[in-house]
């Protein structure tokens, strides 16, 4: 009796859920219409969700047999959570944009399909048109899984008024670590009580693991080699890079020891920091908000110029009908045509993922008027793939904690990174090769 009751109740609930899903996502494929669910994040604040919505509407208008339902899923982390939950529940989205380092985790979950055959069908030139650095996070064991879309690199922003005030040439950003330190010392401003009024430089927190990776590369080191499955968080190059951070933050006190990813762009706009390490993705926000002239530069070098690519890629999911996967590819291909890549870049500040996008007339006019949008593209010559591994989120938390502990003066750089290495080895033990 009780069981019966429970079952009919469950049935009712299930019916309700199916009804809800039917109205939102699944839909009736009665007229041969393929309806695709597409999760997308917007990694950097702003009205960018609207731009995606417009592009999706354009696609739906031009493609009568496919309807893409775009689901805004918050920041990168919530998007990954949404995707993982959906995959675990056996109801994956058809398409999602997920942060590029998550690919190995998606593979470990057996969630995504390789796209080699689709890419091959487009012809060899199609893939070659993407900036090579952006494709480095697309391959695993020689197979192609991810199409670049909203892609960035870190850059250095500098406040020209602050430079002038400190007696520095407002048109010349620091090119080396030594210059960065020197400039930061001159740019920092304290009041009579010794409180900071303006930091010399801010290396943004929150994704400081990403920025740190660039510093290690600049110093000639590598944190993680995905192909060889090797991890080296405590190499001498990494320790020296972290020592440099600690010098800026706790020794010289010209940089804040901690911050958050969302708070530092407003800090720069408010004049609270004279230089800022952040993503190219905030360029349009800064242009619209800053009431002083500012510049965009390569990250200063140590042994070499170097940055990591960042951002989000398109993935197509397993356990959906073949017709959906085919339609998903059509949508992705449409989204990364040179015209659309150019449009997305102009709206956001992200780098257009394809080289031919910079030949599109509107884009040509735009970058002629706004040359700072080209800096990140030029910097791609020195760009590497981003750190990635199954369970990337844990690796990232381990590294962030080490960085925060060191800049907070709680642990020496060597000790912090050695601890991180040990913790990460344990967390990735099933994947690492010794």
């Amino acid at each position: 009796m009780g069981r019966m009751r429970l079952r009919s109740w469950q049935l009712g609930m299930a019916g309700l859920l199916i009804g809800l899903l039917a109205t939102t996502a699944v839909g009736g494929p009665s007229r041969g219409l393929v309806r695709l669910t597409f999760y997308y994040p917007v990694g950097v604040a702003g009205p960018l969700a609207r731009v995606i919505d417009e592009m999706v509407s354009d696609f739906n208008r031009q493609t009568p047999d496919v309807e893409v339902v775009a689901v805004y899923s918050g920041d990168y982390d919530p998007t990954m959570q949404k995707v993982q939950t959906a995959v675990m529940a056996g109801n994956p989205p058809d398409i999602a944009i997920v942060e590029i380092s998550e690919m190995p985790t998606l593979l470990a979950m057996n969630a995504i399909i390789p796209l080699d055959s689709y890419a091959r069908a487009e012809g060899r030139e199609w893939l070659r048109d993407f900036f090579p650095a952006f494709l480095q996070n697309s391959y695993s064991d020689g197979r192609f899984y991810a199409v670049p879309f909203q892609r960035s690199t870190p850059v250095l922003y500098w406040n020209k008024d602050a430079f002038r005030e400190a007696g520095l040439d407002p048109e010349t950003p620091p090119a080396t670590w030594e210059e960065l330190e020197e400039y930061a010392k001159r740019l920092v401003k304290r009041d009579a009580a010794g409180s900071i009024q303006r930091w010399g430089v801010t290396i943004s927190g929150g994704w400081n693991d990403w920025l740190f990776e660039a510093f290690v590369r600049q110093n000639g080191g590598v944190l993680l080699d995905y192909g060889r499955r090797q991890l080296r968080l405590d190499s001498p190059e990494a320790v020296e890079a972290l020592r440099f951070w600690v010098r800026l933050t706790t020794e010289l006190k010209v940089a804040p020891p901690h911050s958050t990813w969302a708070s530092t762009p407003p800090d720069f706009v408010a004049g609270r920091t004279a230089m800022l390490y952040h993503s190219t993705g905030i360029l349009t926000f800064l242009k619209n908000s800053a009431r002083f002239p500012f510049g965009v530069a390569f990250l200063p070098r140590k042994k070499q110029y170097a940055v990591e690519v960042g951002g989000g890629n398109f993935y197509v999911f397993k356990n959906i009908p073949k017709a959906h996967q085919d339609a998903a590819w059509r949508f992705i291909r449409w989204m990364v045509t040179p015209e659309r890549a150019a449009r997305w870049s102009m709206a956001s500040g992200y780098i257009a993922v394809r080289q031919s996008a910079y030949e599109v007339p509107t884009m040509k006019d735009f970058v002629a008027k706004n040359p700072e949008y080209l800096v990140a593209r030029e910097q791609l010559r020195y760009a590497y793939g981003k750190i990635m591994a199954p369970n990337f989120q844990r690796l990232r938390e381990i590294l962030k904690r080490a960085l925060d502990d060191a800049t907070g003066g709680r642990l020496a750089p060597e000790a912090a990174l050695r601890r991180a290495q040990q913790e990460a080895e344990q967390a990735l033990s099933a994947w690492l090769r010794r």
């Binding site: 979950m109 010794g194 409180s195 609270r272 962030k400 925060d404 502990d405």
Partner: protein, 299 residues
């Protein structure tokens, strides 16, 4: 007589069961069954490296015991409870006593002002506090500067981030506790206080010897609610600090969320859930038992 009575009570019993059934079904589906599942899952190794769950005994509990972040998380959670709960109870009592005084026509205004933070969703309030604690343009530092106190980096500082979260939590909770205390105060018979006055007791003596003892039952409830609330803090941390810097504001529920939805370690997350439920229940049981010994329920 007896058979009749038992027959009657059996019929009553069925009736009672019938009335309770809806909530029983919901509790069973959404509370009891998940608890059983959590205990079972906590014995599985089930994570990114092992997407197929397999039995692993107490492995997840051992992992947690050896996890330095877990120790930090426990420290933060307990610190928050031990500092923020007494402070918020003291403030709530103060507000309640003040609100209980004749304040004339402004009383509803004051009462609304004290209760208001309770009605703001914590997520929205946390956004507000992010701005208040902003080191350069935040009001908190502005007033500290006015008072000549050195400015603090608040949410960016390893030492001050947790106190900042505590402050926002106290702000959010005091109003609710104050209303509970106000109800308790209003239930105290006037004649007791008047009798004390006649005997020559001053304000403090009346508070100490009449009001506070009679607020005992309220205090038990207030403490229990505060313990639950403080252990469950999540949204404030998620929005204000994401547990940082270096996990100095990471608390149990936030760590649970990280384990489950960011690291995707379902086994460890379940073990954490079990520890959390057992820990919370035993803390509350201990607190309530301790306090009830010293409480009069009858006036």
């Amino acid at each position: 007589m007896p058979p009749e009575a038992s027959c009657y009570s059996r019929a009553r019993g069925t009736e009672v069961l019938l009335y309770l059934l809806p909530s029983l079904v919901f509790l069973a589906v959404f509370t009891y069954w998940p608890i059983v599942r959590a205990v079972a899952t906590s014995l599985l190794e089930w994570n990114i490296s092992h997407p197929q769950p397999r039995f692993a005994g107490l492995r997840n509990y051992i992992v947690l015991a050896a996890d330095p972040v877990f120790h930090l998380v426990m420290r933060n959670t307990l610190l928050l409870a031990l500092v923020a709960i007494p402070l918020s109870i003291a403030l709530a009592l103060l507000f309640a006593v003040l609100l209980h005084e004749p304040l004339g026509s402004l009383r509803p205004v004051y009462r609304a002002a004290v209760f208001y933070p309770t009605m703001v969703p914590m997520a929205a309030a946390a956004m507000l506090w992010v701005w208040l604690f902003n080191p350069s343009i935040g009001l908190v530092n502005y007033y500290l500067g006015r008072l000549g106190i050195p400015r603090v980096e608040w949410l960016y500082d390893m030492t001050w981030a947790l106190p900042a979260v505590m402050i926002s939590w106290i702000w959010k909770n005091v109003g609710y506790l104050a209303i509970l205390y106000l109800a308790g105060l209003q239930a105290i018979p006037r004649d007791l206080l008047e009798a004390a006055s006649v005997e020559g007791a001053g304000f403090w003596q009346r508070l100490r010897h009449v009001t506070l003892p009679l607020l005992g039952p309220t205090t038990v409830f207030v403490v229990a609610v505060s313990v639950i609330n403080s252990f469950q803090i999540f949204d404030a941390v998620h929005i204000m600090t994401q547990g940082g810097p270096a996990d100095r504001t990471n608390v149990v529920i936030y760590y649970l969320y990280q384990q489950a939805f960011r690291f995707w370690d379902i086994g460890v997350a379940s073990a954490l859930t079990v520890l959390f439920v057992v820990g919370l229940l035993s803390v509350i049981a201990a607190v309530v038992r301790q306090m009830e010994r010293r409480v009069f329920y009858e006036v």
